[in-house]
Symmetry: D2
């Protein structure tokens, strides 16, 4: 069990009479991630609505804010109990046996045009044994193929663009890996998180996008951009791709500032708590 | 109330040892569409699994078929009770008041890249009063802008491509209209149907894609390709775009043949049943 | 006759052992533009080669520079004798009568995908009388359609992208107008210039891209971005699109700085010289 | 020396009052290819204009044909004297030493978006020694990477599309190879030809697109689609990419039929003539 504290500060300048926001920055509450405590503070103190999607468990905070400055502070203490499994247990699930709510993650999506990458995926990965070995081959290929260049891509960059341009950030690695998995009939989805184990050389804590594939009757975490310690990823949102889990959807004339995110492992106060660590096991986080 | 009979015949040649199918050709059972009777027959007579998605009500038929020929025959008798509403009642729903399950239909999707069409939509439609008037303006613009040319597009054609190429089929009209609506923060989704009122000049009955927008706290039907009598559209699937509601997802080496579809209004045996007819009212089908 | 002085300062940091440059910043010498005097100075003082393309008259300066700093200063005094013609004289030239060296400007090019815009152009401009009226209609449409947003596009932005995104800079306006003209079988080409008449609100003098169309047996200047006084445009390069007339092609690991460009009308010393002025006539600059 | 006979039959139905054509099907007359005899016959017998571009030597036939049927028959007897060179002589030419008319073949073009493939090319081919070895590595990579599937692409398919889709015909192989060469600062161009040595399994003689790269102060032939015997390629047109050398540019409402092409080696009547043959030497055809 790993216990972490995650905090985020957001600030906006609203230039319209009012603006609407749908946020998805709350820590997710899942079978493997428990919210021990959390607090939310808005300035000005306006009413909010918090709802949880029944399937993907994303937590939507809706805010309608008046003209002027809006600041949001959120702090959560979260316990994560990742499940480690031996890689050989991650067999491919037959199409006939996939749960109904896994099916959507076989289809192409805005940033994961798996329909266009069918031939590419078959040619590049056709020789691998299916299952976890194939998925690791795709992850490693994406990790080598794409170059990490901050700010090299935009919000419109998709898997096909990344395949051509060969650079991007964690979100682009994730979209390309997801598209290749789906092109080979492996259900794959996108998750946003905060990244405890970030390489200090890459700067302060930040949001991090990772991939989950459905194998062995479970969703398993993979990080093709290799920029995190997977055991330290605290889940925020889960979806087909980045379109479904934006930190903030904004409706109106609003000037955002860059969010400040912090995450730290809490160990001293909790003798049972472990530090995130590296592992060769497969990691189930759902 | 309109009562219709819909039938479909599908045939495949499976060249692999076995192939998996996930079909979505069953008539939907919704608040406004009731399945009075239906029958399904497979040759060879292999087991199938039928499941209904809890939110969008799409009915997935899963089949794992052995090498050789597979034929499927489905017949359904369906009653539709479209709700007609005066257009002025279709006010815009504020973001803050949108139901949780409507939110996904604000985001871009594979074939509806609303994120790329923000500037276009604002420049082209910024002058209209919001609500149903704006939606009708978008529908009429798409109808005039795009030219109906059978077979002019592929399964990879998206709204941005249609904006450039200016031709397509019903599916392309629908994707472009949906993308423009979402770019203007109007929730919009895609539906597949069989088209009772098809213009005989366009050939036999066929599948038809239409659009639904969320206004006046309801989903409302719009048909930008103007190729149907909306009161005669029998719903099959509902989703973000065509990726979510393919008639058949096929896994394996399979040679399909073109499906045969038939739909007819049943009136003689049912004195209460009406014929589909044209209307100037707004049509709610959900 | 207008007499102008144009100067440019370029600076580079070469990090390789050596780097190659092919520049095209020299003022062009054409039938309507005479170089009265010019000087070129490089620091360090390394040898250069200057060549003029026989057809398009672009002047290529080749430099192979060693590691370290490279500075280039160029000053030219140029006389321009634009030819003004009554618009009604600009009839369409029949394909059969087009000079051989005009033919390439009917074909699509990297940034002007006229082959993809055939249907769009016919649908949007099919009703106009061919010739100068049609070309003015295209220019005015592009001017209204695209929004001028500095830095909104990249070096990879092409006409199709601008059609979708509806924003850009002078180069993007030019590419879209050229693509639409070629889609309608009107020869059109791209020119780089320095812009005497720049709106001071838009900042200092800068490079400016404009369009030429072949009508009335001549190349005629048009400026779809409306950001210049056409009579004050001093031509540098001419080509199919921006690919053919970059200010600098750079081969090697080189850090550029933003070029400084100045242009001013010389009148006091030259009693015969006029100031650039606005005109309703068609302008031939070739 | 190889002597060949090339014939082509073209037929069109002109539905407008008249239509214009600019053809480029004539055999090229170059330093290594001599036209011994040729004949041209049009039905109806309308006047034509034949011009040769001074740089690329493409021969443009212009025809303005009235409503109705147009048939064209062309036969040429051509002698080719390909120059074979030892591969080690094909050194890279320094940018500073490239002839002026080679420079355009460093820039991106409509179907060869080398500007987008810079990172890809550096990552994939950065480890090779420059010169002919690098060019052969690119050719072999393209040959393996792309799958030959007739009719799988359209006239709008470009190098970036082929990189993603991994299938195409000779023209697509050529565009991808050219784009990769230019991305690495190797001048590369496109040529159309008729293909003597076609694999009979691929059907009858047909047009064939090949690549030329500038190395060792000469243009050298390479065929990334591996569908020809290079010594048997009879050159028609030369250009930046397919946009510059279409067999026919058509202006007007015209229904084409598929051209019939034939080519055969003439040996019996000419004791000095050789048959085209395979070779490991580098082949200069210009």
């Amino acid at each position: 069990m790993v216990r972490m504290q995650y905090s985020i500060c957001l600030a906006y300048e609203i230039r319209d009479q009012a603006a609407d926001f749908i946020f998805n920055f709350h820590a997710a509450q899942t079978a493997r991630q428990t919210i021990v405590a959390e607090s939310l503070q808005l300035t000005p103190a306006i009413p909010t609505t918090l709802q949880t999607e029944p399937t993907l468990l994303n937590r939507h905070l809706r805010v309608r804010a008046p003209r002027g400055h809006l600041a949001i502070n959120y702090v959560a203490t979260v316990e994560m109990r990742h499940l480690l499994k031996p890689p050989q247990s991650l067999f491919e699930v037959r199409i006939a046996d996939l749960p109904l709510d896994v099916i959507p993650f076989l289809a192409p999506s805005r940033y994961c045009e798996s329909d266009r990458l069918m031939a590419f995926a078959r040619r590049e990965f056709g020789g691998y044994q299916r299952g976890y070995a194939l998925v690791l081959a795709i992850r490693d290929w994406v990790c080598r193929y794409v170059q990490f260049i901050p700010l090299s891509t935009s919000e419109q960059t998709s898997a096909v663009g990344t395949l051509v341009d060969r650079h991007g950030v964690c979100r682009d690695y994730a979209h390309l890996m997801i598209a290749l998995c789906r092109a080979l009939s492996i259900p794959a989805r996108f998750a946003t998180s905060v990244n405890y184990g970030a390489d200090p050389a890459l700067g302060p804590n930040d949001f991090h996008a990772f991939v989950e594939v459905y194998l062995g009757n479970q969703w398993n975490l993979l990080d093709p951009s290799n920029g995190s310690m997977p055991m330290g990823l605290l889940r925020i949102g889960t979806g087909r791709d980045a379109t479904e889990v934006p930190i903030a959807m904004i409706f109106g004339d609003v000037e955002p500032t860059r969010p400040r995110v912090e995450v730290q492992a809490l160990t001293s106060a909790e003798p049972k708590a472990d530090m995130p660590m590296a592992t060769d096991q497969a990691i189930c986080t759902w």
